[in-house]
């Protein structure tokens, strides 16, 4: 299918909604027939990382929201994960492997998002929140050889 389609999700930034977000986006993404199972798993993972970041780092006080927007244009999936929380002062530093502001975290969230998306854009204004935009298209669109989903 190469039509255009889009969905918006909005929900509180709490830990149990991370699964909801990745399952919902993965289901939407599977409208692109040529994504393999492995690519759908990659999409689950990058959504999980982006939404977990909002839950962990986004807001100083409870009640903040996460907004996820997913768009299909042709064969390209674009996922936007946004919050209106404290933001990131130095985005370049935050994107470094192993950089974290939480001592018990690994600091690998952005590294994973970067590795598994075709394009990662992170923008923020401190105090106004963070916007993460990730793009993903099937590697072997149209090929007969790639592992097909039933």
């Amino acid at each position: 299918m190469s039509a255009t389609n889009h969905v918006t999700l909005e929900f509180p930034a709490i830990a149990q909604n991370v699964e909801f977000a990745r399952v919902a986006v993965a289901c939407f993404a599977s409208q692109i027939d040529s994504f393999t199972m492995e690519e759908i798993d990659d999409i689950k993972l990058i959504v999980s990382e982006a939404v977990s970041n909002v839950v962990l780092h986004g807001y100083d006080s409870p009640g903040g929201l996460v907004r996820v927007h997913a768009v299909i244009e042709g064969n390209v999936l674009t996922i936007t994960v946004e919050d209106t929380g404290r933001g990131i002062a130095d985005v370049e530093q935050a994107r470094q492997p192993a950089f974290t502001t939480s001592p018990d975290r690994m600091g690998m969230g952005f590294t994973i998002m970067e590795a598994l998306s075709d394009d990662l854009d992170v923008s923020s204004r401190p105090g106004a929140g963070v916007r993460v935009i990730m793009k993903k298209a099937p590697r072997m669109a149209g090929s007969e050889e790639h592992e097909r989903r039933s």
């Binding site: 690994m106 690998m108 590795a115």
Partner: protein, 115 residues
């Protein structure tokens, strides 16, 4: 997410199933901390990941935390039978170079017993 544990000598065999993420990591962490507190003889965890259908960096963090606790007392944690999804996250995050990964329980036992 489900965590089944069984102590065999000084090894705690932990079988995880389901999804390990920010939502389920606290339960996993609490369960293992409780076991380790109750059984001070345990020096190693064999973490069987065969039925883990999804993991992310929050899940890895929970595993790494248990590894560090055991390591601090000279013990260790082995990851066993990761699915391709789990393996990929281990590799991407660099955990493969910290935590030993084995394909089967047998290999972990062989290694642990110095065979």
């Amino acid at each position: 997410m489900r965590t089944e544990t069984r102590a065999i000598g000084n090894v705690l065999v932990v079988r995880l199933s389901g999804e390990l993420d920010l939502g389920t990591a606290p339960e996993f962490r609490a369960k293992l901390e409780e076991e380790l507190d109750a059984k001070p003889d345990i020096t190693r965890i064999f973490l069987v990941l065969r039925d883990v259908t999804f993991i992310d960096s929050s899940g890895l963090g929970a595993i790494l935390g248990r590894y560090r606790r055991l390591r601090a007392h000279g013990g260790g944690l082995f990851a066993i039978a990761p699915s391709p999804q789990v393996r990929k996250v281990f590799d991407l995050s660099g955990l493969t170079s910290i935590i030993p990964v084995y394909e089967t329980e047998d290999e972990a036992w062989a290694r642990a017993s110095g065979v």
